[in-house]
Symmetry: C2
């Protein structure tokens, strides 16, 4: 009881002992106070009296993952008609259900997506969907980081655009910075080809004014890019540049069909690209020029997209897919390296989530994951980096700490009632006749 | 005690109740007696008195996987220098240890590989390595199916080829058909370019004489195929055809760089291809023309290759890699379908393991796996086939039955002492200074 009293007054911290970092050979102890890392020292240390002490058991410690483009609530459609053409899939399977989704449905489905993500070590989600107050509420309760991205589409400002921009601005302003800074907002026109130019211009102006990023789909399919070029003479990336879209922090999902000129713009303007290799593969969109983007210095991060086109929200599997596709395509066993792949999953998009400081450093937010290296499929564990990138499963993640709070301990989720979530999602499916 | 007596006299069977097949909407009960399936009936049934009754709990039931090209003992090298060129990897990392491996070392490493495979639902392994008596002993004890493939290489019959062919023939004859038919043998010249033509001719003759297949590497890298064409004017596949190699059952690993003519030969001659997409990606070998092979009717199965170039022995991940690469490459969301992918993993290579009858049919060998469909990452589970191919983890496999014996129950291996295997493999690494 005394211990609890002291804790609530903030006098104490937590010492996480005996964890294996990626870069060093010796295990370390990490101490954090409230939401920040207070010290990182070679093991063993003597924790200050009164600290909570947690034995890491030699597990790998790493920065948690950021899923930089997803539609969490679409877990509802996981495995629903995988092998059909896009139009059939949308018209016969997705839209009939999606059109009937209530705010509360999105809340439960988002929680299910968050649960899967946390289970696999994801601590931040750039989530583009609708009923966004429910999404923010779910992320707040789940204890994770969120880039809330209320999707909008309209042919022009007059035809619904102005109202939608105002509505999404209100949502973003309501949540930006909330939950101890874990929730951030972005304006999210769906794509260049689904939002009129005046809406795009107004969105850029608004994003500048309220100081939030823009998050949108860019050059996902070959046909989309070809149609846009035919119509306007410019590539989508060049067009966005001309509009001034890259004057604000910008998160461009997909960028599958970008050419050398596009890549130069993306690099030069510091655009964040959310590379979604598995969704691009499953939907037959193609293979993004990842190596060229990395070589040009583009800030590439990874995203799963929605579970309907993946079918997982698994950042380890997304890392695996990224290196498999590039090494096979370029017939090069050396690139991308494990380092490059892990950076895309864990660190390259931190700024979009309001984290300007280095990951896993003294003074930084206490965000980390622990990974079991004693599984059969990771034995022998010659090298922790190799274990994560080339051998681990999502289920090998054992503990997840976000902003100083454990959202998973010993493979048990602590912020989400998984059985309740299942119950609600199953009820929702029954209502829709599935 | 009475029950045990009756069992040993073979009067009873086992009824596995309430499992979900891929093709039907209703759960089924499967009854087996000794090593064969006695009945398959819609649930619920009344098991005969005296049967062992096991509740499948609504799990997915499917045919177990066949890993048709691997080097199990190379789990020892998992994660050892992943991002270096092939020659550096071989000369600085692999060969120095491999040259010192003793027969007993290969036994323990093979068991570690088998344990990982079983854990992920693999019931049969085409394993090409050395110290093959130890490999056969490990597979016998582990209770799995094995296509024992003692690797051999020699420039000619006079320069070691004759002796090696005799030695491997003896090993193959010693084990072929043993362990209640679970172990089969194959003659395994390493490749066209590492074995002299007279050795190849003698091997084909020997395989015909002792009635076993040939298992070898074919057209794995671009440079290998180009060099062969330059030297002989023929592709490796065309050359093998001219030698008469396809007159015996033939398992060709890789076939990455095969052209239309090669594919026509492979289809026409009923050659089994072990497609190893992840290894081919990691080593930068390229992407095999899987779609063209499937369309031509080639009998394509899946293999992981060794863990050193994968880094897993995970057939679910191998399925995932196969569809990801092909859908991305061809920009086609419909092919390969989930059905085609699962057939490559589970059924297309059964004949090589001596299983001529259909999988999961009355009268067939009782080989099956159960898969948990209640995991977070498979929820909601709209469709069992989709769950396996697009969403499942290796760790979702809960039970593995081979030839009527449970080698894994409720995620616990029953034939391999995993802690002992770890202990031995770690001791082996310490001896080699790793």
């Amino acid at each position: 009881m005394l211990s609890n009293l002291l804790r609530s007054e903030g006098h104490m911290g937590t010492t996480l002992r005996n964890v294996q970092p990626l870069a060093a050979t010796s295990p370390i102890d990490i101490r954090f106070e409230d939401s920040r890392i207070a010290s990182i020292t070679e093991s063993p240390t003597t924790p200050p009296p009164g600290d909570d002490v947690i034995d890491g058991g030699g597990k790998i410690v790493a920065s948690g993952f950021f899923n930089t483009h997803t539609h969490l609530a679409m877990v509802l459609f996981r495995g629903l008609a995988d092998d059909v053409p896009l139009q059939v899939w949308l018209e016969d399977h997705i839209w009939p259900i999606e059109n009937k989704l209530r705010a509360e449905d999105v809340y439960w489905c988002t929680l299910l997506g968050l649960a899967e993500g946390i289970r696999g070590g994801t601590i931040g989600f750039a989530d583009m969907y609708f009923h966004c107050d429910e999404i923010a509420r779910a992320a707040d309760e789940a204890g994770v980081r969120l880039l809330l991205s209320p999707g909008m589409a309209a042919p022009s400002m007059d035809e619904g655009g102005a109202a939608k921009l105002d509505a999404t601005t209100h949502i973003v302003e309501r949540w930006h910075g909330k939950a101890n800074g874990r929730i951030r907002g972005a304006l999210s026109p769906h794509a260049l080809y689904t939002c009129g130019e005046d809406l795009w211009r107004a969105t850029i102006e608004r994003a500048t004014h309220i100081d939030v990023p823009i998050h949108t789909h860019v050059s996902e399919t070959r046909s989309e890019v070809e149609a846009w070029r035919e119509q306007t003479g410019a590539s989508p990336v060049a067009h966005l540049e001309q509009l001034g879209a890259f004057d604000v922090p910008f998160l461009a999902a997909h960028c599958v069909h970008v050419n050398e000129d596009d890549i130069a713009i993306l690099a030069d303007r510091g655009v964040h690209v959310a590379h979604c290799p598995k969704s691009n593969a499953k939907l037959g969109s193609g293979i993004a020029p990842l190596r060229a983007m990395l070589e040009a210095g583009v800030k590439v991060a990874l995203g799963t997209d929605g579970a309907a086109s993946n079918n997982r929200l698994d950042m380890i599997e997304e890392m695996r897919t990224a290196w498999i596709l590039q090494r096979a395509l370029h017939e090069d066993p050396m690139r991308p390296s494990a380092d490059e792949i892990l950076a895309m999953a864990a660190t390259s998009a931190r700024a979009l989530f309001g984290l300007e400081e280095e990951a896993l450093a003294v003074g930084s937010r206490a965000d980390l994951i622990l990974i079991d290296r004693g599984t059969l499929h990771a034995t022998p564990a010659h090298d922790p980096l190799s274990t994560i990138v080339f051998a681990a499963n999502a289920l090998d993640v054992t503990d997840v700490l976000v902003n100083g709070n454990w959202v998973m301990r010993n493979r048990e989720l602590r912020t989400i009632d998984v059985e309740r979530v299942r119950f609600e999602v199953e009820g929702l499916l029954r209502r829709h006749g599935n």
